[in-house]
Symmetry: D2
Subunit: 339 residues, 4 copies
């Protein structure tokens, strides 16, 4: 930590700040300049709040140097992490991995139909919610465990893996028994009870960025899971909330290369939630792959007009086919390939 004193801060004040830092357990190195005195404080505790020093008399600015996350940082594994999802599918390798499927599992028939289509078109995972976080208490809340069963069977029948959302610590055991990847939704990115519970399972977790979460906060949430011993975390950019309301969210494509520099974890994009409108999904999916994403989450529905949730952002199977064809052209530009 670097503590910058105000211009002309008197000797007494400087000494008080040094004493305070020492009492907090820091080693302090002083550097006296022409106008400013700078204090280097070594040995910061992970739970230290820089504002405690910032508000001391005579202090102009405090700069934290060590990142608050460690396990999630690129320095922890400079070569990058490849997460094995099962059946030889690897997230973070040369293949751009696509998860496709409906927003919610609606019926056995629906999910089998869609699974068959997306498997043929190159998807590796089947996505679909059995428990739905809905902002209105009056909306369809998902089929629950039967939905998970349909999802698993449809995936197995078509050689796919399963990713589905877990909403509460009480659901972790159930989900773990059905899915290959546990998804944490944007609204739960800072549900620390859930994150801690996921640190104890030994299945990959796909962690979505919260709508108002900074990149650093996303990495801190990954750190929660990893600090429990589960290192198979996949990050997901799904759009942030900004003043622009034409699209549901603003898909922060730049977060993809930023996260790849800061962290060793794989990063996927969800253009369906990121835009909320079917006609914007393909352009943003292409953009994400062109920017270097390791994978995609795409909502596909055999009959979006009658979907029970988020039909408006689901692709028709034909649109998904067209998108996959376009991605096959783009992926080599970034040294990747599609299935």
């Amino acid at each position: 930590m670097v503590v910058v004193m105000q211009a002309g801060a008197g000797e007494e004040r400087i000494q008080t700040v040094i004493d305070r830092l020492v009492s907090m357990g820091f080693d302090v190195h002083r550097s006296t300049g022409a106008t400013h005195t700078i204090l280097g404080a070594v040995g910061v505790r992970p739970d230290f709040d820089p504002r405690d020093v910032e508000l001391l008399e005579g202090v102009r600015e405090v700069v934290r140097i060590t990142q608050p996350y460690k396990l999630a940082s690129r320095a922890f594994r400079p070569e990058g992490t490849v997460v094995e999802l099962g059946k030889g599918v690897r997230m973070g390798g040369v293949e751009v991995v696509v998860a496709a499927g409906p927003c919610a599992v609606e019926s056995e028939e629906q999910i089998h139909g869609i699974a068959g289509r997306v498997a043929k078109l190159g998807a590796r995972l089947l996505r679909g919610g059995a428990f739905k976080p809905r902002s209105s208490p009056y909306s369809f809340q998902g089929l629950g465990e039967p939905g998970l069963k349909f999802l698993r069977e449809a995936a197995d029948k078509n050689g796919l893996l399963v990713v589905s959302e877990v909403m509460d610590p009480s659901q972790v055991a159930l989900l773990t028994s059905y899915v290959d990847v546990l998804q944490v939704g944007a609204r739960n990115m800072q549900n620390y009870h859930l994150l801690r519970a996921l640190g104890e399972v030994r299945k990959p977790v796909l962690l979505k960025r919260g709508m108002s979460a900074t990149i650093e906060e996303l990495l801190l949430s990954a750190e929660y899971i990893m600090s429990g011993g589960n290192y198979d975390v996949i990050l997901c950019e799904r759009g942030i909330r900004t003043f622009e309301t034409y699209t549901r969210n603003t898909l922060d494509i730049a977060a993809i290369p930023v996260l790849q520099k800061l962290s060793h974890l794989p990063i996927v994009a969800d253009p369906s939630h990121g835009t909320g409108r079917r006609d914007k999904v393909a352009p943003m999916a292409r953009a994400a792959v062109a920017a270097g994403a390791d994978g995609l989450l795409i909502e596909v529905h055999h009959d979006p007009d009658h979907a029970l949730s988020d039909g408006a952002q689901s692709l028709y199977p034909d649109q998904f086919a067209q998108l996959m064809a376009e991605l096959r052209i783009i992926a080599p530009a970034v040294g990747r390939r599609m299935a």
Copy 2:
């Protein structure tokens, strides 16, 4: 719902949209203008997604008319709600109710000391966290149940009520047995499992606005709790995330009068989290009362320099005394009074 067709949309397209709306269960009233045709669709289901119509060919815009929340809307109780907190303290009445105390309960001694001070200065509730949602897994996470016990005893000894945060459905029973008001933190505003669990208790809930939640989303979360039968919800503005980073959040003072118009529920402000800096707490607390807030949540610590969390935004007891004196001048300007 009003469906506006594109200028010059042909008869066939209009008919297709009408048929679709009828098949969705709407009664449709058509109004044909010179350039635009407008369709009024009556009988919207609460889980209807307007985007499903918006994407139909020939549709220009869809406007939902009924609000997605009912129990939380002002129309449900035009006269406003006064929540009885216990011991005759009423939130939403003529008195501006102040909850004060440390960010976290740190020890029996600490909480007793602070409780004694704030009670004398006019606080009605003692606030303090026993379970702390911390963005870093390495930070102090609270004392747990012993913290609740200290909090209850300190409050009782000083004639105060207790408000404390509940983070997970599994904690609801425990919290309910110790506190008078259950607080839902900003990060949990859309934790629907928790909201549903709180709908079943019969204690007031203080619901904080999420950092990126719109006013409508806050009311939808209140609706979740109320739809379970618990109508004693208190809304709390605690700052939203914007591009301005000088303050930790941007306290959206205008949300106070806006919520008072849209909803019958009482609304309090939390200037401590809303600014994150001690020297900005008093100005914002005064602003909130001047704008019509029904109450305040203020962090006060007997020794902020050694607080285990959020010391930087905690007032010294003397600053709290000064603030209460200022609020006594301001409250009459809006027809209110302080304790």
Copy 3:
């Protein structure tokens, strides 16, 4: 315009609103539903402020139907606009047009050196500022007219066109005599005096989206220029301001397909200003082309480490060469090609 009355609004209030609308010059069609009455008001003036009706007693919501822009809307030219820049270069056609060059013209030698490099690599336009809008009054403000002269000569020598920024109405004549495309910076997007002056010239204008401008506001600013008779407007997405500060701005890639739907004008992206960091420029340039952009603005400097402004976001010539090679792979995925 559609005016939705509150549920249960009495006959008298409805009549008052109707009378008011008629006095404002509207034709009013009334549609009485079970709970809500809806009024269709035809004949809105372009300068009408919907809030004037919204605040009337008994009104629940007002929905403007006609877009506030006309000339800039897709309906005005459904087939799309191709802007002829000169020398056969066309923005909005099948070729993705790249403008490259330094942030600021620094010297004759510098601009000639860069022009030679980027021309060989496939750029069609040379970019470079002669007048620089700098947020600090103490920063380098540009070479002025001599800079324009160097820019023109360097472009001509290398078969390039010139795009450069105009900051004030008083500079329009000067710029027009030197450049092929007049650029309006983000900070001037709502400088209406400047927009009006540009409506009177007969050269293409590249209009950058303001940092906090909605897509609709960008189109309204284009409308200002077009209403003066200059229809050759090129829109530019260059990043919006959000809470995320890791990148300088958040490049709103989704704005590209959105604008292509709402407007007939070509749209380019500026990943250099959009990210502010050299290592993020190439990923975002690829993303923009993959999303369908008609062109790119890329800062390239022969010696970014000694650039007088924005060196940190300028590509080295070798990085630009690499990027162009990648774009040649991507463009066919969206039916386009690079020069």
Copy 4:
């Protein structure tokens, strides 16, 4: 400037960075810690871009220590600035100064009527636009010079001063001859040609914060004016753009105490533009005064229902009277008084 090297950055890299800093003109002080080396660089030029160092190999973070503004900083005049507006009215003194009037001057009769009312109720300045920055080219653009004349006469007749907006450098001379305070609108906060022109006049300038401007950027724009020799700058908070759309903007009340700490310049609030809705103006005006604002800009119209612009956010004279009465109660809480 403090340059923090990456953990484990080798000696060679550190030396390269030091050499580079020296070649940039800095004096460098090195401080070698257990894991990190920190370089203090003294003598930063005002136009220095920290990103140039940030991108060097081995550098982890660069922290600018000196603020980029000097004349606008509190350190420049620790005792604060009181701007003399004329007729003994002083902005920044003990009196909270109110400017009131219509959005736009519409006619001689209108402005005289309003001036008479607001003068009696305690306003000190008459506000009103003669040149209107309108986002649509089809909206009312103001009366021009005749509007200024009406404004001046109406003010003089009622013992008021005049504040009105200047939109372009070409209007500065004209405005200066009619008004007492020159207003710079939010859209022009970074119109540097205009700011520079205003640095040369010797009349107070009221500088509005841009919709997406940080507090630091507002102070940099003030610095532009002051660096030209005009020190009489009044800052104005008028709302920032956030994701919340219920109010037109989010009035950042916390900016008031923040600016008072960072700068010596007076700060006023504009709750009319800050909320865009008449019924929210009074609560936010009260909040601004309670937070310590030196003044207010309030839109008042004798007949808002027929106002040519922004009627929806204009108070009726009776509402303004009521507001002034409330402010008289609040002001003493912050050691101020109303006229």
